[in-house]
């Protein structure tokens, strides 16, 4: 038999000024099952909580209804008080007499009636509450960081420094990402390599970090705290344990005319190569599509010159399986190439380059050793045009969003150009200058005022080549939209930042959502910016949307904080308010018929297919199974289940039904 205690709070005068609390307590005392009903000035005060605790013990209560403020405010308080008195905390409910009653109505009989109704509703509900135990999930205290750009590096180092193991997986032969390709960084103009390289080395040396380069994620199973990840380690054709990074193989390789990816095609590299001098790890890989041996069966010069005997032509891809507790996605972004722009010649003009190529030209370690020389003939461009928003904010091109970093790096490019070509002129076509950030606007002002960048507000409709010059045709909207034609020597397009190639496939492997532009989606745009909808999987950096370095690093540290929190306990405790599929004795096993409509509505991929097998291993039935580690308790599955085989703790069918019943039929 239910023994319910009802506690009506005056909340000073917040409730009692409008609601006759004594009358409500008196009415509640007469509800079936209520054995104790009192009113008190401040239920949430220490004496108030003691009242509840004492009543539980004295009257041997099986359920408690505290009728006070919103449960969104004090439910945890009273549940704790109940637990201290020995009652299961989930046997406590709150009736919202303040926000939903006393504060919004006038003092009259109708308001009292409503208060009594609300209490009755919760009394009926609490009678049907189940005693629940918090869900405990073990946690593997190893984090997987996917992507070794600046975000991945930051996240990995922060997690490792908190004392947890980290596995970092990078697709390319070296970590460093796009940041390692940059020349200088805005708004301070410090050298990108100089600040990044030490961090890359730290990653390699940190005993808590295990680094897999030239590797990709093959599959991910499991749930928060308990993922099983398969990593494909692509064959480098090098025995990493033997290679000492002397680099002799790369200098002796006869096949040197392959486009250099790191230099974005503006230089050549051998078939066996280290992507760039500061690469981490400093171990070469053989490009099998280019290597003479792989193509013709002859050569093997690298094998002959290698004194460490590290070359292994027959090396195979390796699949490594690791358990991890949390995953950080830091896969970064990419930019549109110049061939995306019909109006700028479909990429056919060599001297129209993208921003990243300009970074390489301006970089001291780049193909021109830091001199600004145009790709077609190596001349120093005296007139250079930068086109901001190339592709971005252009619905006609399918990219509605702002790529965010271009305004700043274009200003930086103009400054770097002026520093290197003193007699040159830089023109910048722009839509708006978006320089929100610490010292950002000052930086763009500097480009205009000190380094004489000519900003033209308008868009470029066309670029064509004539007598070795690039004719840039645009409009100056601040000068009455008149046509501007500039005979430039070189054009730099600040092309739109887009999702990394392969992001969609990775999202599908990880079961996380992504937007129409293939950027990963955060769980909540304001309050959960680094979480995904899948518990235990986090996002940092430009894989979420275009981001600059400080933002990426901040997000990465945020992710590291989240993961460290997760790892701070050996078990994960979760509210047990989750959905469950009923179980019956054989031969039914469950009233679930396995139509799996619940599976398609679950936003968390928490519903799995459970197979019931007989003794001989024959499949008897397929049932829905809700993974308690993943279920977040929305209850959408409950409402779509036709046979009412799913129920959700805290909001069970019988609880909700009796609440409605209590309001109307008494």
């Amino acid at each position: 038999m239910a023994r319910i205690g009802v506690f009506i709070c005056h909340c000073g005068e917040n409730i009692s000024a409008t609601v006759d609390c004594a009358k409500v307590a008196e009415a509640a005392a007469k509800f079936p099952g209520v054995v104790h009903s009192i009113d008190y000035k401040y239920m949430c005060s220490d004496p108030g909580q003691t009242l509840v605790g004492n009543a539980i013990k004295e009257h041997n209560l099986t359920g408690v209804v505290v009728s006070a403020c919103s449960p969104r405010m004090h439910e945890p308080t009273f549940r704790r008080a109940c637990a201290e008195a020995g009652l299961n905390p989930y046997q406590c409910e709150m009736a919202n007499l303040r926000e939903h009653c006393s504060w919004v109505h006038e003092r009259n009989e109708k308001t009292d009636d409503k208060a009594i109704d609300l209490v009755r509703m919760l009394v009926e509900k609490v009678k049907r509450n189940n005693a629940l135990q918090p869900i405990k999930v073990p946690v593997t205290k190893t984090a997987l960081v996917i992507g070794g750009g600046v975000a991945g590096i930051q996240a990995a180092l922060d997690i490792a420094n908190a004392g947890h193991k980290v596995i970092m997986v990078e697709r390319e032969p070296s970590i460093g990402g796009h940041m390692s390709q940059l020349s200088e960084t805005f708004p301070t103009l410090d050298c990108s390599q100089c600040i990044l390289t030490p961090r890359m080395v730290e990653v390699a040396q940190n005993p808590n970090i295990k680094l897999y380069t030239y590797a990709e994620i093959e599959s991910v199973e499991g749930f928060v705290g308990n993922f099983i990840v398969k990593i494909r380690k692509k064959a480098k054709s090098i025995d990493e344990s033997k290679c000492n990074g002397c680099g002799l193989c790369t200098t002796k390789c006869p096949n040197k005319k392959n486009p250099n990816e790191f230099e974005l095609g503006m230089a050549k590299r051998p078939a066996i190569y280290v992507p760039f001098p500061q690469a981490v790890p400093n171990i070469p890989v053989i490009d099998k599509t280019q290597c003479t041996y792989y193509k013709t069966g002859k050569c093997k010069i690298c094998e002959k010159v290698c004194q460490a005997n590290a070359i292994q032509f027959d090396q195979q891809d390796e699949i490594i399986e690791v358990p991890v507790g949390a995953i950080a996605i830091c896969t970064g972004f990419d930019i549109k190439k110049t061939d995306f722009f019909p109006e700028y010649g479909y990429g056919k003009h060599k001297d129209i380059i993208d921003g990243l190529q300009f970074e390489r030209l301006a970089s001291a370690s780049g193909p021109t050793a830091g001199e600004i020389r145009r790709p077609s003939d190596g001349q120093v461009p005296k007139k250079i045009v930068f086109v901001a928003c190339a592709g971005s904010r252009d619905p006609a091109k399918g990219i509605e969003y702002c790529s965010k970093i271009c305004c700043m790096y274009t200003a930086k490019h103009a400054i770097l150009y002026k520093h290197k070509v003193h007699d040159g002129t830089a023109y910048i076509f722009y839509m708006d200058i978006r320089a929100a950030g610490k010292n950002y606007d000052e930086f763009t002002r500097r480009a205009i005022e000190e380094d004489d960048a000519k900003y033209i507000r308008g868009r470029v409709s066309k670029i064509y080549e004539r007598d070795g010059k690039l004719i840039v045709v645009g409009a100056d909207t601040l000068m009455g939209a008149q046509t501007v034609e500039i005979e430039a020597d070189m054009v730099v397009l600040a092309t739109a930042g887009v999702a990394n190639q392969g992001a969609e496939k990775l999202a599908q492997i990880l079961h996380v959502s992504y937007d129409q532009h293939k950027f990963f989606s955060e769980a909540h745009p304001k309050l959960k910016p680094v979480e995904t909808n899948t518990a235990g999987i986090y996002l940092a950096g430009a894989c979420q949307s275009p981001k600059d370095i400080p933002e990426s690093v901040a997000a990465a540290s945020g992710v590291a904080g989240k993961i460290s929190c997760l790892f701070s306990n050996s078990e994960l405790t979760r509210e047990p308010l989750i959905a469950v599929v009923d179980r019956l004795a054989p031969p039914q096993y469950s009233s679930c018929t396995g139509c799996f409509m619940c599976q398609s509505v679950c936003p968390y991929n928490a519903i799995e297919r459970e197979e019931i097998k007989d003794r001989n291993g024959n499949l008897v039935k397929q049932l829905a199974f809700i993974n308690p580690g993943l279920c977040q308790g929305c209850g959408t599955c409950v409402a779509v289940c036709k046979s009412k085989s799913i129920d959700i703790e805290g909001y069970t069918n019988s609880q909700m039904y009796s609440e409605v019943d209590a309001l109307l039929n008494f």
């Binding site: 019909p342 479909y346 066309k462 004539r466």
Partner: protein
């Protein structure tokens, strides 16, 4: 072979030579072009600015007539007519109610199954493969192919070639042995809308086109639109005035170029009708290559 044919007003008037050259090469290739019986104006110039229903009804009636005549392909050499026909087909395909309404206005059942071909599509589909057998000369000249606006825009309606820097005409001219130059004004406006009212504007807009082609050494300009032709040819005095220099680069239709390669009589191609004399001659006699070259197909956006 029989194909439908819509001449439109230009081909019966100012651009008679276009009609003549289309007919001449079709005849040479053994293709019969059948005019739509009782065809009417396509509504290109005035209607689509004034009255949407009228601008759709005029082409729709022509299309319905073509369907009634049992035609499945319709060759529309004039770029303006082509644009209106395609726009009409597109609009009616995507708006059922409008389709019903227009059918009511024209009092005919237009079904929308007709394939509308511009002159380049006509050449690509029915002529280009037979050229090798019939070619007598190579057009061994530097030419600039000029597409203008209506042939390639808007892409989502026409779905033909790429909007910027189109390539189909260049491919045809290369097949004829010409050196078709890469230049910047292929789809720039020629000023056709002001052909009569503001000839100075035509002089400026067409002038830039002529100037760039001449500057890059083109000996002739190849067009596929009567409006482009009349502007670039007939308005040459205004053009020369704007450019402050005389130019004698002839403007010829792509069909005329094919006719020349086929060795068709110049009069039959109407070359004598141009304002800027077509002096092109000394073509290299063509001998069929034994080795079949693999014609690289252009990627069309």
């Amino acid at each position: 072979m029989k194909l439908g044919f819509y001449p439109g007003c230009s081909l019966e008037g100012a651009s008679r030579e276009y009609n003549e050259s289309v007919m001449a090469i079709a005849e040479e290739m053994g293709i019969e072009l059948v005019s739509i019986p009782d065809w009417n104006c396509c509504g290109a110039t005035a209607a689509h600015n004034m009255d949407k229903e009228l601008s759709l009804s005029l082409p729709a009636r022509n299309l319905a007539l073509a369907e009634e005549a049992g035609l499945t392909e319709l060759v529309v050499p004039c770029a303006a007519c082509y644009s209106r026909f395609c726009a009409t087909q597109h609009e009616l395909k995507h708006d059922e109610n409008l389709h019903k309404k227009i059918n009511g206005i024209i009092e005919k059942e237009y079904k929308g199954n007709l394939r509308i071909l511009n002159v380049i599509q006509f050449i690509e589909e029915f002529i280009i493969d037979k050229l090798e057998d019939k070619m007598k000369f190579e057009i061994n000249k530097k030419v600039a192919c000029y597409y203008g606006c209506l042939l390639v825009r808007p892409n989502k309606v026409l779905n033909f070639d790429r909007t910027e820097d189109p390539q189909t005409m260049d491919a045809v001219m290369k097949k004829l042995g010409a050196d078709s130059i890469d230049w910047a004004f292929k789809t720039e406006c020629c000023g056709a809308g002001f052909s009569v009212s503001f000839t100075e504007t035509v002089g400026r807009l067409s002038g830039q086109i002529i100037e760039d082609a001449v500057h890059r050494g083109a000996e002739a300009m190849i067009v596929a639109c009567p409006m482009c032709h009349s502007n670039l040819d007939m308005r040459r005095p205004e053009i020369d005035k704007y450019n402050k220099k005389k130019s004698d680069m002839p403007i010829i239709y792509i069909t005329q170029a094919i006719g020349l390669a086929l060795g068709i009589d110049r009069k039959k191609l109407g070359l004598q009708r141009h304002f800027v004399p077509v002096k092109l001659n000394d073509f290299k006699p063509y001998t069929k290559k034994t080795e079949v070259e693999n014609p690289q197909k252009m990627e069309v956006e």
